[in-house]
C-alpha cells in the first residue's frame, strides 16, 4: 500500500553564482517498507527529505508535480494545515542528535513538546507519556534522563531520545537522515534495531537516508541510488549486485571484498552523462569546487 507519492520533485537554491539544482525531478513512492536512499555528499538526498517536510528555507525553492500522503495533497496545503502533517504524519530524525536537541531545554520538556504540539493533553500527562516512551526505547533510568539536558547525554542515548521524540505523535512516515552516522558501530546496531522495531510495530514507512551502501543493502527492503540530484538506480536491496547503472556498479567495485582481495581498489570514473541536465551539473561543479 502506498503511503507517500512523490512526482517530479525539484529543489533549487539560487546563489550568487547562479541557481543550484539540488534535486532534479525525482519521483518515487513509499509504502509500509524500509526504503533506502543512498548517495554521496551533495547528491541531494538530504534535500529530498527536507523538501517533503517543507523544511527548505527561503531562498531555497521546492516544486513538484505531486507530493501526496494517502489521499491528501501536500503540495497545495496551507502552511497552517501543513503544521498538522509535520511531526504528526511525517516526522524526521536528524543526524547528530546531541547537536540537534535544544541545549537549554530538558529532555522531558523536548519530548513532551512533541505530544503537546499535536494533541490536547495536559503537561503532566505529556510527561508521563514521555516517561513510557523513554522506557520503550530501552532507556533504563528514564526518570533521571527526563530531567537531564542534552550535554549530559551520550551520543547513542541522545539519538534514542531523538527517535522517541519523533515517533511520539505516531506518524505514518519516518524520514531518518543519516541517523547513525555520528555513532560508533556497536551503538549503530542498537539504534538501527530500535528504528526497525518501531517501524514494524507501528506499521510505519521509513525513508532511510545514508551514504553507507553496505548498511542500506543489509537494512532496507528497497534502495534508490542518487547521483547529482537525480535517482540513477533503483532495486530491491537483495538484488543490489545485479544493479544496472554504471554509477552503482562503480560504487560496488570500489568497496573491498573479503572473499576476493585485490592489490589496489578501483576508483570511480565519473561519466558526465550520468544524471540529467548536463548544464546544471556544470553549475554544481562550479559551486562545490
Amino acid at each position: 500500500m502506498t503511503l507517500l507519492k512523490v512526482e517530479d520533485l525539484q529543489v533549487r537554491f539560487p546563489t550568487h553564482n547562479g541557481v543550484v539544482d539540488a534535486v532534479k525531478g525525482v519521483s518515487f513512492t513509499l509504502g509500509r517498507e524500509r526504503l533506502g536512499l543512498v548517495g554521496e555528499s551533495g547528491s541531494g538526498k538530504t534535500a529530498i527529505g527536507r523538501a517533503i517536510l517543507r523544511l527548505i528555507r527561503p531562498p531555497g525553492e521546492i516544486s513538484a508535480n505531486r507530493i501526496s500522503l494517502g489521499d491528501s495533497d501536500l503540495l497545495t496545503m496551507s502552511e497552517r494545515e501543513f503544521g498538522q502533517v509535520r511531526g504528526r504524519q511525517i516526522s524526521m530524525v536528524l543526524q547528530d542528535a546531541r547537536y540537534s536537541l535544544n541545549p537549554v531545554l530538558s529532555v522531558g520538556e523536548q519530548i513532551s513538546e512533541a505530544f503537546l504540539s499535536h494533541s490536547r493533553i495536559s503537561k503532566s500527562d505529556a510527561f508521563i507519556r514521555s516517561l513510557d516512551l523513554l522506557r520503550s526505547v530501552s532507556i533504563s533510568n528514564a526518570e533521571r534522563v527526563l530531567s537531564a539536558y542534552p550535554h549530559e547525554l551520550s551520543g547513542g542515548m541522545a539519538q534514542r531520545i531523538m527517535i522517541a521524540m519523533m515517533v511520539a505523535p505516531q506518524p505514518q512516515i519516518l524520514i531518518a537522515d543519516e541517523p547513525t552516522s555520528a555513532l560508533d558501530v556497536s551503538v549503530q546496531r542498537k539504534v538501527l534495531r530500535l528504528i526497525d522495531d518501531l517501524v514494524k510495530d507501528r506499521g510505519m514507512g521509513l525513508l532511510f537516508i545514508s551514504h553507507d551502501l553496505n548498511l542500506v543493502s543489509e537494512y532496507c527492503d528497497r534502495i534508490m541510488v542518487m547521483y547529482r540530484g537525480a535517482i540513477v538506480d533503483e532495486c530491491r536491496a537483495n538484488e543490489l549486485n545485479r544493479a544496472v547503472h554504471p554509477y552503482t556498479q562503480g560504487l560496488l567495485k570500489c568497496m573491498p571484498r573479503f572473499e576476493s582481495p585485490v592489490q589496489r581498489l578501483q576508483t570511480l570514473d565519473r561519466d558526465p552523462s550520468w544524471g540529467i541536465g548536463s548544464d546544471s551539473i556544470e553549475k554544481i561543479d562550479h559551486v562545490t569546487s
Binding site: 527536507r50 498538522q84 540537534s100 541545549p103 537549554v104 531545554l105 539536558y149
Partner: protein, 353 residues
C-alpha cells in the same frame, strides 16, 4: 550500564561543586580579591600620575615649610606600600578622604552623585531593553523586509549620532519649542529640597514621600536624558539581539523543532529566545555598566549632577581623593554587575550549572 554511571557521576560532582555554601564562599572570596586588586591599581595610578598632590592642597603660593609639613601630614614620606596600608584601612572604615573641590568627605559626595546616575541609567537601560530586544527579534524573524530595514536604520542612527548633539537637539525641540519635557537639571528650583532625601533617587524619594507633584516634575526632567541614553543602548542591544537570533535560527535544534511540528511562534519564543538569553544578559550588563560609569557628555548637556561629571571635574582639578573614590565605586559597580550576570547565567543555561 555505563550511561547510567556517567550521569550519576556528573550529578554527584555537580552536587559537591555547586552546593550553595561552596559557591557562595568561593564567590565572596573572589569578589574581595578583585576589589582589593581594584583598590591597589587605582591607588598606584593615583601615585604615578604626574601631578603633585601636595601642591593641589596647599596651592602654588604656599611657603616651603607649609609644603613640607603637608607632605609629611599626607604620609607621602612613607614607602608606597605603607601608604597603601593606611589608605586601605581608611577605606575599610568608609573613609575615602576629603575632596579638595567640595571640601566634603568623598563618600558623601559619591552618595549624592551616584543615585542621580543610577536613576538615569536604570531608566535608560529599561528603554534600551524593552524596545531593543523586541525590535531585534522582529527584524531577525523577517530579514530583508521593510520592517527589518527600518529597524536597522533606527539602530544605525542611534549608533552613529553624537550623543551630545542628540541631547541638544532634543532640548531644543521638546523643551525649547514644544515644552513637553523639563529643562536641564533634576528638578525645577521650586521643587528642590521639598522631600526628605532617603535613597538619593528623586523618583523613589518622591514616591516614598507621596509627593506626586515632585514626582511628575522629576519625571519630566529625567525623561529626555534617559531617552537619549536609552536610544544609544537600544541601538546596541537591538543590533546584538538581531545577530544572536539570526545565528541561532540556523541551528540544528530549530530544524528539529520544526520537523517535530512545533509552531513557528513557539520555536521563536521557547527554543530560540531561550538560547539567546545568555549572550543577551552579557550585552545588557555591559551597556548598563557603561551607563553607570557616568555619561559625561549627556550629564554636561543636561546639567545632570551625576558621577561622570563629578569624576571628570575632580580629575581636571587634580582632586585625587575624589578621583580614586569615584573610580573605585565605578569598578565595584562593574564587579557587582558581573557577579549578578554570573548568577543569571547559572539560572538561564543548564550547561553552566
Amino acid at each position: 550500564m555505563s550511561e547510567t554511571r556517567t550521569i550519576q557521576w556528573t550529578q554527584r560532582r555537580k552536587a559537591l561543586l555547586h552546593s550553595p555554601i561552596t559557591t557562595s564562599i568561593s564567590k565572596l572570596l573572589r569578589v574581595s580579591v578583585t576589589l582589593l586588586g581594584l583598590l591597589l591599581i587605582t591607588f598606584l595610578i593615583g601615585r604615578v600620575m604626574p601631578i603633585d598632590p601636595v601642591l593641589a592642597v596647599v596651592g602654588e603660593q604656599a611657603s616651603k615649610e607649609t609644603y613640607e609639613q603637608t607632605y609629611i601630614d599626607m604620609g607621602l614620606d612613607k614607602p608606597v606600600i605603607v601608604q597603601f596600608y593606611y589608605y586601605l584601612s581608611d577605606v575599610l572604615q568608609g573613609n575615602f578622604g576629603a575632596s579638595l573641590l567640595t571640601a566634603r568627605p568623598v563618600l558623601d559626595d559619591l552618595l549624592r552623585v551616584f543615585p542621580a546616575t543610577l536613576e538615569l541609567s536604570t531608566i535608560a537601560i529599561a528603554i534600551g531593553v524593552l524596545l531593543g530586544v523586541p525590535l531585534g527579534i522582529v527584524s531577525a524573524i523577517k530579514p530583508g523586509t521593510w520592517i527589518d530595514v527600518t529597524v536597522r536604520i533606527i539602530a544605525l542612527m542611534g549608533y552613529s549620532a553624537p550623543i551630545f548633539w542628540l541631547g541638544m537637539i532634543g532640548l531644543l525641540v521638546f523643551y525649547g519649542e514644544l515644552g513637553w519635557v523639563g529643562g536641564p537639571g533634576r528638578l525645577d528650583i521650586v521643587y528642590m529640597d521639598t522631600i526628605p532625601n532617603v535613597t538619593g533617587a528623586i523618583l523613589v524619594d518622591s514616591l516614598l514621600a507621596r509627593d506626586t507633584a515632585t514626582f511628575k516634575n522629576a519625571l519630566a526632567h529625567i525623561i529626555l536624558p534617559a531617552s537619549v541614553l536609552g536610544y544609544y543602548s537600544l541601538a546596541y542591544i537591538c543590533r546584538m539581539t538581531r545577530s544572536f537570533m539570526l545565528n541561532e535560527l540556523n541551528s540544528e535544534y530549530v530544524l528539529t523543532a520544526r520537523a517535530k511540528g512545533v509552531r513557528e511562534t513557539t520555536i521563536i519564543r521557547r527554543h530560540v529566545f531561550r538560547n539567546i538569553r545568555v549572550p543577551l544578559v552579557t550585552v545588557i550588563a555591559l551597556s548598563y555598566g557603561n551607563l553607570l560609569e557616568g555619561a559625561v557628555l549627556t550629564e554636561f548637556v543636561f546639567s545632570w549632577p551625576g558621577i561622570g561629571s563629578y569624576i571628570t571635574t575632580a580629575l581636571l582639578s587634580a582632586d585625587m581623593n575624589a578621583v580614586l573614590g569615584g573610580t573605585f565605586l565605578v569598578g565595584a559597580v562593574f564587579i557587582l554587575l558581573n557577579l549578578s550576570s554570573d548568577f543569571l547565567y547559572r539560572y538561564l543555561d543548564p550547561r553552566t550549572r
